[in-house]
């Protein structure tokens, strides 16, 4: 990434997930710790090497609290909250920090016990008295809108404008499940068909239960440092070639917020430009799949196909191994694991693909990968372009 300081180039030296998808009895902090320890071990580093720390969670001074729990006294820390896109943003920031020379080893962690804490409530989006977001959220919630409902509004409009079909949306879920079958940790592994998705109950039309991500416990971590530092570490470094993030709105559905366009339309082109590559060169993608529509919008907005052609792009195994763009090779949030802010899992799987560690879902010869997180109500987008080789 540029601007780089005198040859310092950011890489990811270690990655790990915690156990998932169901961690009864574990605390959120314990999930952070499990993932952090594994990621440091993956890199061949120790806590004593860490001088930077980043994470995101749902209360202020979250990173400070997790740092305390881990016994870290970092001189660089970051808790930028972009919902599900947070971890792509945090890794982008960490890359700038190490390239600027203000940090040497930045540990980025995520942990959640959403499933154990909240149960399997699908379609959550508010919490009742005292649990509702203040401000503009009230202008949705008073009329009974839900999180799933918000994505459903986007899906309906996309179907209206571009003739996208429920079958095309369903095919995203089918492909993710195909990939999950190869992931022993995945929450759901039994194959499903387009008909299975369409015959699962409607949660908020046009989104069915199987158009929605699973609800899980879990977390992950990665270690960002310089290529120089990583040269003699345990695993081959994965290069952070470019990153960018954007936001267009929070809850507002006014004309400024086109529900058929996500912030990926801004972050994607910027990230590719900074990386010096084009979308056509990407070998494997890890795209936030909170809902099937999220993926359709993202492949369009990142430039893998034209606006409105996302439905045709994803159908018939377009996102499968050997397809147009192998995507979410771990099974994604739709089948493998979604603890609330899934962005870290995208980074971990992208790194594994570029290292050739992805097992049965390895994309042969993968050299360039994209991890793209989406947060809020299509409110934030953050793109990371990762490479096997130095730029």
């Amino acid at each position: 990434m540029s601007p780089a300081r005198a040859g310092r180039r950011a890489v990811i030296a270690g990655v790990a997930t915690s156990d998932y998808p169901h961690l009864p009895g574990m605390s959120e902090h314990a999930v952070h710790a499990e993932a952090a320890g594994r990621a440091l071990a993956d890199a061949g580093l120790e806590y004593g090497d860490v001088d930077g720390f980043a994470t995101a969670g749902f209360f202020p001074m979250y990173a400070v609290g997790v740092a305390e729990y881990l016994g870290l006294h970092p001189t660089y820390f970051d808790e930028t909250h972009a919902g599900g896109a947070s971890f792509e943003v945090l890794v982008e920031h960490a890359a700038y920090a190490v390239e600027a020379g203000i940090a040497e080893v930045v540990l980025v962690t995520y942990g959640s016990v959403q499933l154990s804490q909240m149960g399997r409530r699908l379609g959550t989006g508010g919490g009742g008295r005292g649990g509702m977001a203040p401000g503009p959220a009230i202008y949705d919630a008073l009329w009974g809108n839900t999180l799933v409902g918000s994505y459903a509004l986007a899906a309906r409009r996309h179907m209206h404008e571009y003739k996208t079909t429920p079958e095309q949306l369903a095919s995203v879920a089918v492909t993710m499940r195909d990939h999950a079958a190869h992931n022993p940790q995945a929450q759901y592994r039994d194959a499903i068909t387009v008909d299975d998705v369409l015959s699962s109950r409607l949660v908020a039309d046009p989104l069915h239960k199987l158009d929605c991500c699973v609800i899980s416990d879990g977390g992950g971590a990665c270690v960002v440092t310089t290529a120089e530092r990583a040269a003699d570490l345990r695993k081959p470094a994965v290069h952070i070639l470019g990153g960018a993030h954007a936001t267009t709105h929070h809850m507002n559905l006014s004309a400024d917020a086109d529900l058929t366009v996500s912030p990926a339309a801004q972050s994607g082109p910027l990230a590719f430009e900074r990386a010096g590559i084009t979308p056509a060169e990407v070998d494997v993608a890890q795209l936030y799949d909170s809902f099937t529509i999220t993926v359709v919008l993202t492949v369009e907005d990142l430039g893998f196909c034209a606006k409105g052609e996302g439905g045709a792009f994803v159908e018939d195994g377009g996102l499968g191994l050997g397809g147009r763009l192998p995507t979410n090779t771990d099974g994604g949030g739709l089948s493998a694991c979604h603890p609330g802010m899934r962005g870290m899992f995208l980074i971990v799987e992208a790194v594994r693909q570029l290292r050739g560690e992805a097992g049965e879902t390895q994309v042969p010869g993968a050299r360039l990968a994209v991890a793209h997180g989406t947060g809020g109500m299509l409110s934030t987008g953050a793109t990371l372009v990762l490479g096997k080789e130095a730029p």
Binding site: Y139, G144, A204, L207, N252, D256
Partner: protein, 151 residues
């Protein structure tokens, strides 16, 4: 089906807390007047109401009266409630409505007074008011031109 005379404002949902920027919208609602906030400098409309024009950043605004008709921009049929008190209400329609004269601002609301399966993108709707209390009324929308008895 949710009719506009049937209360379904859930007891476990907090009432809106109006402030200086938003009170005008809620007061108009209480008087059964549909309004939208309009920047007095550039004329851009915005909803939800807020302290500053997102286009020109001027802080002065006025409440533009709307005729109460509009068009469904997009909608969903919520079939799984997120509050226990809405469990008896599902399925209900949540829609983003573009009110006529609203300058492109959209309001999240409900389409009531018809079967959810009848709702479509582009459907013409008109406001109906539901009194929630002496100082609070919510605008919902129904298909345009329905007779009172058709709900």
């Amino acid at each position: 089906m949710v009719g506009d005379t049937e209360r379904w404002f859930p007891d476990d949902m907090p009432p809106p807390a109006a402030n200086a920027e938003t009170a005008g919208w809620w007061e108009a609602c209480a008087a059964h007047r549909l309004v939208v906030q309009r920047c007095t400098a550039c004329g851009a409309t915005r909803h939800p109401p807020g302290p500053v024009c997102p286009r020109c950043r001027v802080t002065t605004a006025e409440w533009a009266e709307l005729p109460g008709t509009g068009t469904v921009y997009t909608f969903t049929v919520v079939r799984q409630a997120f509050l226990p008190s809405l469990a008896q209400t599902v399925p209900y329609v949540v829609a983003a409505v573009e009110p006529d004269g609203g300058g492109g601002a959209r309001m999240v609301s409900n389409v009531v007074g018809c079967d959810p399966e009848e709702v479509s993108v582009g459907m013409e709707v008109e406001v109906v008011w539901e009194d929630m209390g002496p100082e609070l009324a919510l605008p919902r929308f129904r298909p345009r031109g329905r007779l009172e008895g058709d709900r």
